[in-house]
Amino acid sequence: MKLPLISNERFVQIAAPIAVGLLFLVAWEVTVVAMEMPRYLLPGPSAIFQSLVNDWNTLFRGLLMTLKVTLMAFGIALVLGVAASLLFVQSKWIEVSLFPYAVLMQVTPIVAIAPLIIIWVDDTTWALTICAVIIAIFPIISNTTLGLRSVDPNLLSMFRMYRSSRWQELTRLRIPSALPYFFGGLRISSGLALIGAVVAEFVAGTGGARAGLAYLILQSGYNLQIPRMFAALALITLTGIALFALMVWLSDLALRNWHESALRVEH
């Protein structure tokens, strides 16, 4: 007998990872109960879920704060990154002179420069945002620049044969060609913006009304409220997954008609 749902590829794609996740959680819970693990060492999933419900107000405020920094940083990285790429493709000279500095920014550990930025910038939210931008911008710059250069040379020759302007070349040829690369950059960058926001907050250690999820993790650690720590961690992970899924969806929306990466293969 053949189960109809098993042969449905889409169903399997969603159900299989969920099944693995549930199995993992069950095994976790069983292990914790069986070994009588104390909560301050390793809480079980049920305890974490309970903390998520009980501390929802605090956690939700933290989530909003982290999300705000992440999204602001991502937006700024997107605008500045694309602007930098457009500048880079204008001339080889500009790219050669400036690209090493983009790399420099990428390889500098953010934890090392975050304290400086926090000292220089009064407003903590902005300080955190700047740190996250520094981390998130590089994939956008490097991917978009690569994309803007990855133009079919024959199409470019043809554009020039028809005496296209630089503007036409950019809008009708370079930007559409760059889209798949650009969206690839966005996927990486969205995750990095979140990591940047969290790491910067760890360094800054801002508490009070402006506490984000990272501060909640720190604080819960000090107080041995380990279930709350896990709950905050779970929220960060879920945010990252949601951002990634959003980027995949956007990319699919923009490319599904023509690009190989977004095509559904029919068997």
Binding site: N154, L155, M161, Y162, R163, S164, R172, N257, W258
Partner: protein, 325 residues
């Protein structure tokens, strides 16, 4: 079937003979093979010329005026490879000239130089007896068809075909819509305007590419092994289509190929090239009437021309080996 309209178009009389003045300039080291017995007369449609209006009703006949003059052109790449050496070629109004040769003989390089896509290292190229920069101002238009369809994958067929008009800034004019419709109809792609290139077969993509080249109503059409990647049936069909369009429109065609049969079937003249260094070695006139059909493909004349061209190619490759050794 879309081409039936072109053929049956009573604007063009297909049976009116016109004098043909034969192949262009002959340089010293190049032999020109003329068909021995047949007179240099050719059945060819008299076609309305863009000059007719400009030159007070004087109708221009084929072969009367050079469209492209390549003289003494060398192309040396930065790494020292000599892609082309001493190329001389004159293509006249209304001719269908094929550049034939093995890989590396510089035929595509020569075509790109003719298209203005690459600069010659030495020598001169003239378009309508003028410099490339002034050609555009006189309403003379070039079009190029690549080996691959080279369509924009993100744009639908209609937008791809419209591209040259967009770049010219004339796409918004009312007559442009008509031009696009006509081009699509000529290549038999009506009904596929909203398809994306990836949804089309290889042959249909090539048709879209040809429609794009046609849409500006070019005077000079340059084709770089356009059907090399297609199966033989599709290739034969597209060959016939191109011949019909060439007869119906005011085209001068330079066609790059490595197929002897394709070159002989299509052309007035087959220019045979050799490799290492790339150069022109022979210029064979194919003195057979148009329209040509599948009957021509199996005729003794066709076989004769193919043999002659093949022998020229063989001689060319032997010369290449002598140079290499």
């Amino acid at each position: 079937m879309a081409f039936a309209a072109v053929c049956g178009n009573d604007r063009f009389s297909l049976n009116q003979p016109t004098a043909y003045s034969g192949p262009g300039t002959v340089s010293g080291d190049r032999t020109v093979t003329q068909p021995p017995a047949t007179p240099l007369k050719q059945v060819h449609p008299a076609r309305p010329s863009p000059d007719a209006a400009v030159t007070d009703g004087r109708t221009e006949t084929m072969g009367s005026r050079p469209v492209v003059q390549v003289s003494g052109v060398d192309k040396v790449y930065a790494n020292g490879t000599v892609a082309l050496q001493g190329a001389d070629l004159t293509v006249k109004q209304g001719e269908f000239v094929s550049l034939l040769g093995p890989s590396g003989c510089g035929k595509s390089t020569l075509l790109r130089i003719i298209a203005g896509m690459g600069e010659a290292t030495r020598g001169t190229v003239k378009w309508w007896e003028q410099d490339y920069k002034v050609v555009g101002d006189k309403g003379r238009k070039l079009a190029f068809v690549f080996q691959n369809a080279t369509l924009m994958p993100w744009a639908r067929v209609r937008k791809n075909v419209r591209l040259p008009l967009d770049l010219e800034g004339t796409a918004k004019r009312p007559e442009s819509q008509q031009k696009i419709d006509e081009a699509l109809e000529m290549v038999g792609l009506q009904g596929f305007e909203t398809a994306f290139p990836r949804e089309l077969s290889g042959g249909m993509q090539m048709r879209a590419s040809i429609a794009r080249a046609m849409v500006t109503e070019p005077n000079l059409l340059l084709m770089d092994e356009p059907f090399g990647a297609l199966d033989e049936m599709t290739r034969n069909k597209l060959n016939d289509d191109v011949l019909r369009l060439w007869q119906a429109k005011d085209w001068t065609v330079v066609f790059v190929t490595h197929s002897v049969y394709e070159a002989v079937y299509l052309s007035n003249r087959v220019v045979v090239m050799a490799a290492r260094p790339g150069r022109i070695v022979e210029d064979v006139a194919i003195d057979q009437p148009y329209p040509r059909s599948s009957d021509f493909r199996v005729s003794t004349e066709f076989a004769g021309y193919c043999r002659r061209v093949s022998q020229a190619l063989e001689r060319a490759s032997q010369m290449g080996e002598e140079v290499a050794s």
